[in-house]
């Protein structure tokens, strides 16, 4: 389970930060807790909207991709801090990443109150409609007289306190699971995915019809695109466009690039459509994703869920075997989120591959054979209802589907389409 921790202080020294760090290191077997920094977040001001600033977008991204949030609040003047309140105001103004997010509150204070009033107040704030977080009820963790609570290595000294904190965190981990299971699929925000690519990103070529069969030629002319023997500087190397094409078209993978505006802008045209594992035709390049999928609402919903899960970082990759795989052929569509150096989402890298030749080659080389495993569970979690679970459609050597490791795909109906392309 992935949690993020926010210490509600921008002071250089903060016992609340020390408390969260202690939880992150000491309870790493319960959850993966990443500390988020709020130091660079400006004081909220509705007349000077900073929602798009790096500091706030960073928090948004991290919170959206986390299963839950732990907030450690100091107490200033009988309430939580202005710096923490300011962060919550930013996260409830134009964006709402805390909506429906499970939250656990802890707090430390110099005096024996242990931030009790700040915690109560924070609860009230987090339940305001614009924030709409789901705060773990009860289970108050109040760390009073904090100056004497930690040893020189920043470990909590009192064993009873450690045990209580651990049991509280255990309850929170369960709470997170329950709350996130309850979430209605439409709450994922996937509906907001614009498959028509009506938006615009910095690389969108304007003034060229995305539906045009010669979009590539038109867009290339408009952008004075490099071609043929023109050199392209890459990370890491230098190739001409011809070399790049030869390289990509000889990959043992069918590659597709859908940008963050949901426009299908590239595939490696290695073979005519009828010989491809997932058919693409030259006139499709440039199309919005809505044009390269059937209008079936189930399919559309599924495509949106996959893209949104990748865009928001819920999963790094989604993999789906296609229906009709058999002992000689096991075609898998992999969808992987692409990011720039700053971690901004750049789109989906889809690669399609028949993995069976690789499996067979491996078996032959190592003198092994596939063996059925009666204990194997095909569907690992509620979030993994990918069509892969349909073992009857795959009749491998020993009647056990050699499934790739299950990825946490977004909730889908088992009978929905297998591929983003079909």
């Amino acid at each position: 389970m992935k949690l993020v921790g926010i210490a509600g202080s921008v002071a250089d020294k903060s016992y609340n930060r020390i408390l969260l760090k202690y939880m992150a290191t000491h309870f790493s077997d319960l959850a993966d807790i990443e500390m988020l920094d709020i130091k660079d977040v400006p004081l909220f001001n509705e007349s000077d909207d900073q929602t798009e600033s790096d500091a706030i977008q960073y928090l948004k991204r991290k919170i959206e991709s986390a299963d839950g949030v732990i907030i450690a609040t100091p107490e200033h003047n009988h309430t939580t801090t202005a710096s923490l309140k300011s962060v919550i105001e930013w996260l409830s103004y134009k964006i709402h990443p805390l909506d429906g997010k499970p939250i656990m509150i802890v707090g430390a204070s110099y005096y024996d109150q242990g931030s009790s009033r700040a915690q109560l107040n924070l609860r009230q704030i987090l339940e305001a409609p614009g924030v709409n977080a789901v705060v773990l009820p009860g289970n108050e963790f109040l760390l009073g007289e904090v100056k004497n609570a930690f040893d020189e290595n920043d470990n909590l000294k009192d064993a009873g306190t450690v045990n209580f904190l651990q049991s509280t965190l255990q309850k929170f981990v369960k709470f997170v699971t329950v709350i996130n299971t309850m979430k209605h699929p439409q709450d994922t925000g996937a509906e907001s995915e614009d498959l028509g690519a009506t938006g615009k990103i910095s690389t969108t070529v304007e003034g060229v019809d995305m539906a045009a069969p010669d979009w590539v030629e038109q867009a290339a002319e408009k952008t004075h695109a490099a071609s043929g023997n023109d050199y392209v500087k890459l990370d890491r190397g230098l190739l001409t466009v011809d070399q790049l094409n030869a390289f990509l078209n000889s990959m043992p993978l069918e590659l597709t690039y859908a940008d963050s505006n949901n426009q299908f802008i590239y595939y490696n045209k290695m073979a005519p459509a009828e010989k491809m594992l997932a058919a693409r035709t030259p006139d499709q390049a440039g199309n919005p994703l809505s044009m390269v999928h059937p209008k079936n609402p189930r399919v559309i919903k599924h495509v949106k869920e996959v893209i949104h899960a990748l865009r928001t970082g819920q999963v790094p990759e989604v993999s789906m075997p296609v229906p009709g795989n058999n002992a000689d052929k096991y075609v898998v569509h992999f969808y992987r989120a692409m990011h720039d150096e700053q971690g901004n989402y750049m789109g989906v890298n889809e690669y399609v591959q028949d993995i069976m030749p690789t499996v067979k080659w491996y078996l032959a080389k190592t003198g092994q054979k596939l063996e059925g495993n009666p204990d194997a569970t095909t569907s690992a979690s509620v979030d993994d209802a990918a069509p892969a679970a349909d073992t009857t459609s795959s009749a491998s050597v020993d009647d056990a589907a050699p499934e790739p490791a299950p990825q946490a795909a977004p909730a889908t109906d088992a009978d929905s389409s297998a591929s983003i392309d079909d």
Binding site: V10, L43, S47, N77, T79, A82, S83, K85, I88, I125
Partner: protein, 202 residues
Amino acid sequence: MNKFVAMVGTNAKVSTNRTLLQFMKQHFADQAEIELMEIADLPLFNKPENSPVPAPVLAMAKAIDAADGVIIATPEYDHAVPSSLMNALEWLSHRVHPFVDKPVMIVGASYGSLGSSRAQAHLRQILDSPELRARIMPSSEYLLGHSLDAFDDQGNLKDADKVAQLDGLFKDFQTFVTVSGHLNNAKDLNQKDTKNFDWNKL
């Protein structure tokens, strides 16, 4: 004539809470001298250990010290006081303590019907803390709901009942300031306590 500081509880450029205080300044001009105070110029409070108190904070503390009372108008963000007002109060309770025993009247306006009720309760709790120790006028609340429609073009409150209510409360506040002046037996001790209060010595 009493002198009051009227603190605008937000850093927003446009606020009906500012409009409300501007109305009070002009409406009560024959009863008291009201000076508006903005909180937008303060940095984010980070509990600085050694750096000097910022100049705008010192200026605000000085003005509050010199006033007979403070009127605070608070909006409500997320069921609570805006962070910008919390921030101002954090600065005004860190090495300077102008609110100790200072009479305070709380008012508030909101776009919805509740008139910042939760923020006002929150603000009371904050002003009662040991490093602020303000004297908040008890049993009084001025909640101005639907504030976008509450004022006419000249910035006057349109609803006569709302004006009458404010008139009454303001008179009470003047009396409260007088009464508060007599509640001075613990004043020296309070001020000493607050000044000497040091979280690091607990």
